[in-house]
């Protein structure tokens, strides 16, 4: 429609950006030592996957791809609420947020 605005971006670049963000999320999940930051890395991974969904929805003009992102957002909101409540409960019980010190269930 507005192709006169300039060059178009290949959709694979969006997918590569999504893959990079997901990988950065995984790396953060592995190297961060703070419970809250580990949780933030999970949110980063969810966002990366959402970008993939929107890209494919754009490619195939599929409404359901965008609706799936909407559902992912709602589930992420629920997950954040419960997860942060668990983090508060853990902090009350152990008085620390360092994942190395929360090791009761470690083999």
């Amino acid at each position: 429609m507005n192709s006169s605005l300039g060059q178009d971006v290949p959709l694979s670049w969006y997918l590569l950006l999504s893959a990079l963000l997901f990988t950065l999320g995984v790396v953060g999940f592995l190297i961060k030592r703070n419970l809250i930051t580990v949780f933030m890395s999970i949110e980063l991974m969810l966002n990366a996957v959402n970008l993939s969904f929107v890209t494919f929805a754009h490619e195939w003009h599929a409404v359901k791809g965008q609706i799936f992102v909407f559902f992912v957002m709602m589930v992420a909101a629920a997950e954040a609420a419960v997860g942060l409540a668990i983090i508060i409960a853990v902090f009350r019980a152990r008085a620390t947020l360092a994942v190395d010190r929360i090791d009761l269930m470690k083999l």
Binding site: M1, D8, L21, M73, A78
Partner: protein, 175 residues
């Protein structure tokens, strides 16, 4: 135009994500995650998903990240201590990360039949039909049951969060 916007906001995204990893204070990580999410909203806008861009700003950058910053400040989370992590994370985790990125990138680069993203090209090509209209038509007719089930899920999540976070006070009252 599209190319410039893509590069600027993809750069913001990656810079924010890398900054999230490098910062040692959780509040700085939370702020850089807000940068990532807001730039992602702009990218959604470029891909013709106006409703999702708005929802991304309101739900993610607004609600969820405010919750995160509240918890960071409530728990007075200090500077994290850097340890080398567990041996398993180093031995299995990082090769697996490299393998995942390699596989995904190869598949994406090899998939040549993907089109290009044109600015202003939305879900529907019908004139006068907006993105929100197309979305809500499917959401409130075909997918009404999942939509309502999600509201129950949110309700349960609220109750669970309240029950988990106020557990301490209840136990003290019982004593």
């Amino acid at each position: 135009m599209h190319l410039i916007l893509f590069f600027v906001f993809a750069g913001f995204c990656l810079a924010g994500a890398i900054n999230l990893l490098l910062q040692s204070h959780p509040i700085n990580s939370a702020l850089s995650l807000i940068v990532v999410m807001t730039s992602l909203a702009v990218l959604y806008l470029l891909l013709g998903a106006e409703f999702l861009a708005a929802a991304q700003v309101i739900v993610y950058a607004g609600a969820i990240m405010v919750l995160f910053t509240f918890v960071v400040m409530l728990l007075n989370a200090g500077r994290e201590e850097r340890t080398m992590g567990s041996g398993v994370a180093r031995a299995v985790g990082f090769p697996a990360v490299v393998a995942i990125l390699g596989v995904i990138a190869t598949v994406i680069v090899k998939a040549q039949d993907l089109g290009v993203a044109k600015l202003g090209e939305g879900l529907t090509n019908a004139p006068g039909s907006t993105n929100i209209e197309a979305l809500s038509k499917v959401l409130f007719t075909e997918l009404l049951l999942p939509f309502e089930v999600t509201s129950v899920l949110i309700l349960i999540a609220i109750l669970g969060a309240v029950a988990l976070a106020s557990h301490d006070r209840e136990r003290q009252a019982g004593k």
